[in-house]
């Protein structure tokens, strides 16, 4: 019998449904895998065995009584440390939130819990999701399970590493500029950033509110579709959540067929200095494989791509400086104890609580919003954002799905991206998707000679998730990598 920790989300659901295992067996198997493997990966910030097993027993009792909440009742799901789960810490891997316990569930979490999913640990991340390596965690770094001298990517590095290492069948993350797709690519798992507004952000600690989206990290495209089905849809608690009915993504995978599909390759994406030959080759191979299945390849142009990083780091930091003003030591978290008055409390609490990257971004964001600079930076960036969005709208007149790298290289070595600007520049392929508010997915498509995963990114228009996931399924089948686990 396959070890239970190796089961995908869909396989775990089937095993529970057929009685091959109980939720307790499944959770106990995963807890054992975490004990064996996480000392080397450091993906989990916290995992309470007793809470998990109690939830598993409750699930087993429901199933025995014929009252399972859904097919997925009893399947564990790892949660990034910026998503609220009632009664659990939600620290954003930051010292400033030490001691904070979420008093409510994020809507995305609540909806999946209503289907019986069991929250399985708090996953490490770059502090407040600010970073691309999980080295900016305020607690400790997470390491890439395929090669622990390398980073897992970020900011959802704990989520990606855990799923890749078989320490959870699936995880939730958040993606503001690539924070789901890039670690998924570096760790060899599937990572989906849904269209802005498709998944409620209520209960996600805000970094950049106009860019943040919650999404799944999984080992299969089907599992990502299942989780999106469970999370999506309008929520009155998030005024940016889109109206209308959405879903049916997993069911639509049965019709995955790329015949006649126009796949667009943006010319500018392949002119990026620093694009590694093996990444370029992997993307080329997948384009050829899809063509062989009947897709049509078209060259498209995203001429304003080169301005995306500059635009993003103005808008995201501006929004962050406003959002993170709430962390001042008054209502939650660790308050500086010796401050003489209110102003000193703010200044000292924030000085002690935030790490370098968070401080840098708050300062940058405050600067671009400050009197005399607002027009030159922030307003100009918002107008550049209009151009970037228009680029995609024009490209989607000629193609249905865009094919691109996720990152210019496979997972970098630890410390390699310690200069902030160098780290920002590596976000070139993921960032425009958030600026345009459209959807993107990272799918494992190759393994380098050195054994590192390479991801392929598919980018779809707003609310194009059905076709995006169908194409991702075709890529998954063409790549035929199967499920592999790192030796840990």
């Amino acid at each position: 019998m396959t070890e239970l920790w190796k089961l995908s989300l869909a396989e775990a659901a089937a095993a529970l449904e057929t009685g091959r295992c109980s939720a307790r067996d499944l959770c106990a198997g995963l807890l054992g895998r975490v004990r064996a493997a996480d000392a080397r990966v450091q993906a989990f910030l916290r995992l309470d065995d007793a809470t998990v097993l109690a939830a598993a027993d409750a699930s087993d009792a429901r199933r025995r009584a014929g009252r399972a909440l859904s097919r997925f009742d009893g399947v564990p799901l790892a949660i990034k440390d910026n998503l609220s789960v009632a009664g659990q810490p939600c620290g954003c891997a930051s010292k400033i939130l030490e001691g904070y316990t979420a008093p409510y569930d994020a809507t995305a979490v609540a909806r999946l819990r209503e289907d019986g999913f069991i929250p399985f640990g708090r996953m490490n991340m770059d502090e407040f999701a600010m970073g691309s390596t999980t080295e900016n965690s305020g607690v400790r770094p997470t390491l890439n399970p395929w090669d622990t001298s390398r980073v897992p990517g970020g900011s959802s590095g704990g989520s990606a590493a855990a799923v890749a290492a078989g320490m959870a069948p699936a995880a939730l993350g958040s993606d503001t500029g690539g924070s789901i797709r890039q670690p998924a690519g570096f760790c060899g798992v599937v990572g989906l950033k849904p269209t802005y507004g498709l998944v409620s952000r209520y209960g996600l600690v805000a970094f950049a509110s106009s860019l943040d989206q919650i999404g799944p990290l999984t080992r299969t495209v089907e599992d990502a579709a299942i989780l999106l089905d469970g999370m999506c849809g309008h929520d009155p608690m998030d005024s940016t959540s889109l109206p209308g009915r959405h879903g049916g993504y997993a069911a639509a995978l049965a019709e995955a067929d790329v015949r006649g599909l126009r796949i667009g390759l943006p010319r500018e994406y392949f002119e990026v200095a620093g694009l590694a030959p093996e990444v370029r080759q992997a993307v080329e191979n997948m384009a050829a494989a899809l063509e062989q299945q009947g897709a049509r390849r078209v060259e498209v142009s995203l001429p304003r791509s080169k301005y995306a990083i500059a635009t993003y780091y103005i808008i995201a930091t501006a929004e962050a400086s406003a959002n993170l003003a709430r962390f001042d030591g008054i209502r939650y978290g660790a308050r500086a104890p010796d401050a003489a008055n209110l102003l000193e409390t703010y200044r000292q609490t924030r000085a002690r609580g935030f790490g370098d990257e968070v401080k840098r971004r708050i300062i940058l964001g405050t600067y671009v919003l400050s009197s005399g600079y607002y027009d030159a930076y922030y307003l100009r960036a918002q107008k550049a954002r209009t151009l970037i969005r228009q680029d995609f709208e024009a490209a989607y007149r000629d193609c249905d799905v865009i094919l691109a790298p996720v990152a210019p290289t496979p997972a970098p070595r630890r410390g390699e991206l310690s200069d902030p600007l160098q780290m920002y520049l590596a976000d070139i392929y993921t960032i425009s998707v958030n600026l345009a508010g459209i959807c993107g997915i990272s799918v494992p498509c190759a393994v380098t000679g050195g054994g590192l995963p390479v991801g392929l990114q598919l980018i779809g228009p707003a609310l194009g998730e059905t076709r995006l996931l169908q194409t991702a399924r075709a890529v998954e089948q063409a790549a035929a990598l199967g499920t592999r686990f790192p030796n840990l």
């Binding site: 001691g99 316990t101 008093p103 409510y104 269209t195 802005y196 507004g197 106009s210 005024s239 940016t240 304003r304 080169k306 301005y307 990083i309 500059a310 780091y313 103005i314 400086s321 003003a325 008054i330 209502r331 939650y332 978290g333 308050r335 003489a340 008055n341 209110l342 102003l343 000193e344 703010y346 200044r347 924030r350 000085a351 935030f354 370098d356 401080k359 840098r360 708050i362 300062i363 940058l364 405050t366 600067y367 400050s370 930076y377 100009r380 960036a381 918002q382 107008k383 954002r385 209009t386 151009l387 969005r389 200069d419 902030p420 600007l421 920002y424 600026l435 508010g437 459209i438 707003a462």
Partner: protein, 99 residues
């Protein structure tokens, strides 16, 4: 656009105390970032509408109906200091006058 970000002044606006070392490091790092983002100056943005949100929804309203709010005990349990089980205790806001 050549800039020279006064890190201490901006950190003051953002209510963050900086050490001398931080001010020095951030200053150099942020100068490099500002130098890079300065390339936006070459874009012609005349006549363009700014994008604040990619999926513009306007006038999102809800019915004015009373509902549950967060449990008081759960919320107050997160506060660093609480008074009378119902107030968040804060440091002095108004300094005492010296006679």
């Amino acid at each position: 656009m050549k800039t020279n970000l006064d890190v201490r002044y901006v950190a003051d606006l953002a209510r963050i105390d900086l050490t001398a070392d931080e001010a020095h490091r951030y200053g150099a790092q942020l100068d490099a970032v500002l130098d890079y983002v300065g390339q936006l100056a070459e874009l012609d943005v005349a006549g363009l509408e700014p994008t604040a949100h990619a999926m513009p929804l306007v006038n999102v309203l809800r019915e004015d109906r009373a509902g549950d709010s967060l449990p008081r005990a759960g919320v107050l349990a997160n506060a660093p200091a609480v008074a009378d089980d119902q107030f968040i205790q804060v440091p002095p806001v108004i300094e005492e006058e010296t006679p």
